[in-house]
């Protein structure tokens, strides 16, 4: 067996090191992930909502989410807010002192330290390598501990048998579900449906991007104007930022 010359090994190490230096921090732009490649742990997918651009009576994001994921619309006659799944809600906030009203969309906040994952007894509630928090429904037993643990009321339980689900969002009775930032779209290089709809039909209030990429539009906007996270005091390091709250 021929041993690689020590010098060759050193040379290749030096070359590798040089390459890393040249490439510098990798930019994680949204692009289709090639088949066979896992989610990238160096990415942290996140959202930014500029509530000043979010109209109180606009629900483009909610509509788009429900359509994309095959959920009932709140305007459907048989919609039951206590039982039917909602991945995004518009939450109306009124400051009693000034009367100023906003209605930002609230969805799974994609915590870096998600309590839903902590409490899940089966490992169904999970965080993907790229920090998307989701339910692996194949393991979900429907105990709903995660719904109790979530401070944002982001999760829903499916109470009834369903038919004609969207092929990219399988869902069924007895499982908990929530916003997964449209993993199926992200994996093929498209932004979440809510963000696309907000840009197209809404006020352009929602931005999707990689928090770990210093050059992302999201990070540039945050650096410019700052951002708040809901209940930041809980220390969950959420991935959804709000401006103008």
């Amino acid at each position: 067996m021929s041993q690689p010359a020590r010098r060759d090994v050193l040379k290749s190490l030096a070359l590798g090191g040089g390459l890393t230096l040249i490439v510098g921090p990798v930019a994680h732009a949204l692009a289709p992930r090639p088949p066979g490649q896992p989610a990238d742990p160096a990415t942290r997918w996140a959202l930014l909502v500029d509530t000043r651009a979010c109209k109180v009576d606009c629900a483009a994001c909610v509509d788009a989410c429900n359509r994309e994921m095959g959920l009932k619309q709140p305007t459907d006659p048989d919609f039951d807010p206590a039982h039917d799944a909602q991945y995004i809600r518009k939450v109306t906030l009124r400051d009693p002192d000034t009367g100023h009203t906003t209605a930002p969309p609230v969805m799974c906040q994609h915590c870096a330290k998600p309590p839903c994952v902590d409490v899940c007894p089966t490992g169904a509630s999970m965080q993907r390598a790229d920090h998307i928090v989701q339910v692996d429904k194949h393991l979900c037993i429907g105990c709903r501990y995660c719904m109790m643990a979530c401070p944002y009321k982001a999760r829903s339980f499916v109470h009834q048998d369903l038919t004609d689900q969207k092929p990219h969002n399988p869902r069924g009775k007895g499982c908990v579900e929530s916003c997964n930032l449209c993993v199926h779209r992200i994996d093929r290089g498209e932004p979440p449906a809510c963000v696309a709809a907000c840009q197209r039909d809404g006020g352009g209030a929602m931005v999707f991007g990689d928090l770990a990429d210093p050059n992302s539009d999201l990070n540039r906007r945050l650096a410019e104007a700052g951002g708040h996270r809901i209940r930041a005091d809980l220390g969950l390091d959420t991935g959804v930022y709000y401006q103008g709250l």
Binding site: R33, R128, D136, Q165, H168, P170, K173, V183, D187, R188
Partner: protein, 136 residues
């Protein structure tokens, strides 16, 4: 006693046997009788090839699917060519009205064998059991 001469009896027995066989053969050859012996697996889209030879698919499809789903959901490894949606588009079964059947229908690709072997899978309580663009 008998109207038939004794020496003709073997010939008569042979004729009766041939008659019985002639009557029974078409019955045995009908799909109905064969269906009782083997599940009638619906043919896949013509001109396509499965992920592995049919014999291997029959033995390994459950392990492939379970492996695939763990990789897809937990690691985010997408493999469109091996996805459940792709199985269902190659293996879509059309009924007499030209509509693609769902897993509610015993003619669905994933039901022929399973019903026969008394296997019940819960996949289609969540997963769509026919392609989204299928005629319905």
């Amino acid at each position: 006693m008998s109207a038939w001469p004794q020496r003709r009896r073997p010939a008569l027995a042979l004729a009766a046997l041939l008659l019985a066989l002639a009557l029974a053969l078409p019955v045995l050859a009908t799909p109905a009788a064969a269906a009782e012996l083997f599940p009638q697996v619906p043919a896949a889209a013509p001109g396509t090839e499965c992920l592995a030879p049919p014999g291997e698919m029959r033995r390994t499809h459950m392990d492939r699917l379970t492996h695939r789903r763990t990789e897809a959901v937990r690691a985010g490894i997408r493999q469109p060519a091996e996805s459940l949606t792709r199985c269902l588009s190659c293996h879509a079964v059309t009924d007499t009205h030209g509509q693609v059947v769902t897993a509610e229908d015993p003619r669905h690709f994933c039901r022929e064998c399973h019903d026969f072997a008394a296997v019940t899978v819960d996949c289609f309580s969540c997963h769509a059991s026919r392609p989204e663009d299928a005629p319905r």
